[in-house]
């Protein structure tokens, strides 16, 4: 990553954007409290006395959760509504975050939270004896 001297000014600009953002973070209070984020970061070995970095991680996490939640919301809305009744029913569907929607949303992020559709006595229940594997 040798940008060299020619892009020195550009680097200053890039740095400026990041530093400005870090400075502005002190005004923005992320939803996840700083102590909590610091606790979990310290648990994995990352210790830093700078609060701005903690807030950066908190904001990044908040963005992550917001993205996942919005994807789940889309999945939820995209599901065909079970409107069977002909009554004047407002479309005030109470949206509930279900495991189904969440697993679909998280799937794109590489997190596999697939629930088994049914519970069986053993993993090989219902399979052919020939293909039974443990």
């Amino acid at each position: 990553m040798n940008h060299g001297q020619q892009s020195g000014e550009a680097k200053h600009e890039d740095d400026a954007a990041l530093t400005e953002f870090l400075a502005s973070l002190m005004d923005y209070t992320p939803t996840i409290p700083d102590d909590l984020v610091e606790h979990f970061l310290a648990k994995s070995g990352f210790q830093c006395p700078d609060v701005r970095l903690i807030r950066l991680v908190a904001v990044a996490t908040q963005k992550f959760v917001a993205d996942v939640a919005s994807d789940a919301l889309q999945h939820c809305k995209a599901r065909p509504a079970p409107v069977v009744k002909d009554k004047k029913q407002q479309k005030d569907k109470r949206l509930v975050l279900t495991m189904d929607d969440l697993s679909k949303a998280l799937r794109e992020y590489g997190v596999n939270v697939k629930h088994p559709e049914y519970f069986a006595d053993s993993p090989s229940t219902g399979m052919d004896p020939a293909t039974r594997e443990e």
Binding site: Y28, F40, G45, Q62, L97
Partner: protein, 378 residues
């Protein structure tokens, strides 16, 4: 990051009721759950209807399982960011993380989904698409601080160190135990009389997850302290209550020249100046004599002394050499016949190497003179 390793893993999880995230920190977990719920609640999706009115659709409630799963994921996300950032910091030879380390970690975690400029390997980190995304997010999303005001997180910070011997006022049982070490906990023999003191529990039991064990431990420490104090009153403590030296290993380092340290004596100087480290009584006269003899045979002096009582000069010389802390110099010179004879005899016995000679000499010495004055041979 696969969660639970597929169906089998999730099944096992459901059966055992455990999470992949360590649930021991229930306090932190509960806080994380609340924060995640708050964020999800604020996620609003705008939908356009026929009347072209924007309708913000939000989640009104959650499935509890879904919320817990999402909390697990978020906790692991934070931990992953921390781990990766620390990894990058260590790669760069640093101990503390950097803003750029975090950006790199976020890029790593976001590379699965992709972000702007992910293809450009050589781009500047500060200009990363991840940062831009975050900046955009903070610009758009509404600010929403955490609902509850948190007390300062007392995670394992309320643990008081065990009181030292000096603080208790008790004497360490053995001499080899310094005063500044924590006192031994006494085995509980009778708790009946100290019931009242059990209530006096220090209020610093912050970590609730360690609740029962910590309180009981502090109870026992208080009980023991009272016991020790009582025993103190009964028997007299001989040891004078000196100033607590404190832990010498934690003391601040000394500046150069602050403390008088004994000079290091070089053997070469001794030869000229005859500075004696361990005083030898008959040493004073040796200055005037040049010492041609083997300086490496101090023990032989004793034997020679014993043999030749008349020749004190040489004895002094030898004593002078003796004080020179065992040099490894072999200067062999011819001496008088009688001396030579003695010396050669010694040499034949001992050989030419000082260490072996010394050892043998020491043995001989001990055999002959068990009460010999201890010299500074070695």
């Amino acid at each position: 990051m696969t969660n639970g390793g597929g169906e089998g893993g999730s099944q096992r999880r459901e059966l055992h009721g455990k999470r992949s995230v360590f649930r021991g920190n229930d306090f932190a977990y509960a806080l994380a759950r609340m924060a995640v719920a708050q964020i999800c609640e604020s996620v609003e999706m705008n939908s356009y209807q026929e009347s072209q009115t924007r309708e913000g659709v939000r989640f009104s409630s959650f499935q509890e399982t879904a919320l817990e799963t999402l909390t697990d994921v978020v906790i692991q996300y934070i931990q992953n960011v921390g781990k990766t950032a620390q990894f990058y910091a260590n790669m760069a030879g640093r101990v503390e993380g950097n803003a750029l380390d975090i950006v790199q970690a976020l890029e790593d975690l976001g590379s699965g989904l992709g972000f702007d400029g992910a293809h450009d390997v050589e781009h500047c980190l500060a200009d990363s698409g991840v940062v831009k995304d975050i900046i955009r997010y903070t610009g758009e999303a509404e600010e929403m601080p955490f609902v509850y005001s948190l007390p300062p997180f007392p995670f394992n910070r309320g643990k008081r160190p065990a009181p030292s011997f000096f603080e208790i006022g008790a004497e360490p049982p053995d001499e080899h135990i310094p005063v500044w070490l924590p006192a031994f906990p006494e085995t509980k023999m009778s708790n009946g009389s100290e019931e009242t003191n059990v209530d006096k529990i220090e209020g610093d039991v912050g970590s609730r997850e360690n609740g029962p064990s910590l309180t009981s431990m502090q109870q026992s420490v208080d009980v023991d302290r009272v016991k020790i104090l009582k025993s103190m009153d009964q028997k007299e403590v001989q040891k004078p209550t000196e100033e607590p030296e404190g832990n010498p290993f934690l003391a601040a380092p000394l500046w150069a020249g602050e403390k008088n340290v004994a000079r290091v004596f070089f053997p070469s100087e001794l030869r000229k100046e005859e500075i004696s480290i361990n005083h030898v009584p008959e040493k004073s006269m040796s200055k005037s004599y040049h010492i041609p003899a083997l300086e490496a045979y101090p023990p032989s002096d004793k034997i020679n002394e014993k043999n030749r009582l008349a020749e004190t000069q040489d004895g002094d010389e030898r004593n002078g050499t003796r004080t020179q802390r065992g040099l490894l110099r072999f200067k062999i010179e011819t001496r008088k016949a009688s001396l030579c004879w003695k010396r050669n005899q010694c040499l034949d016995e001992k050989g030419w190497f000082q260490e072996d000679g010394d050892r043998r000499e020491k043995k001989v010495e001990r055999e002959e003179k068990p009460e010999s004055v201890d010299t500074d041979v070695k």
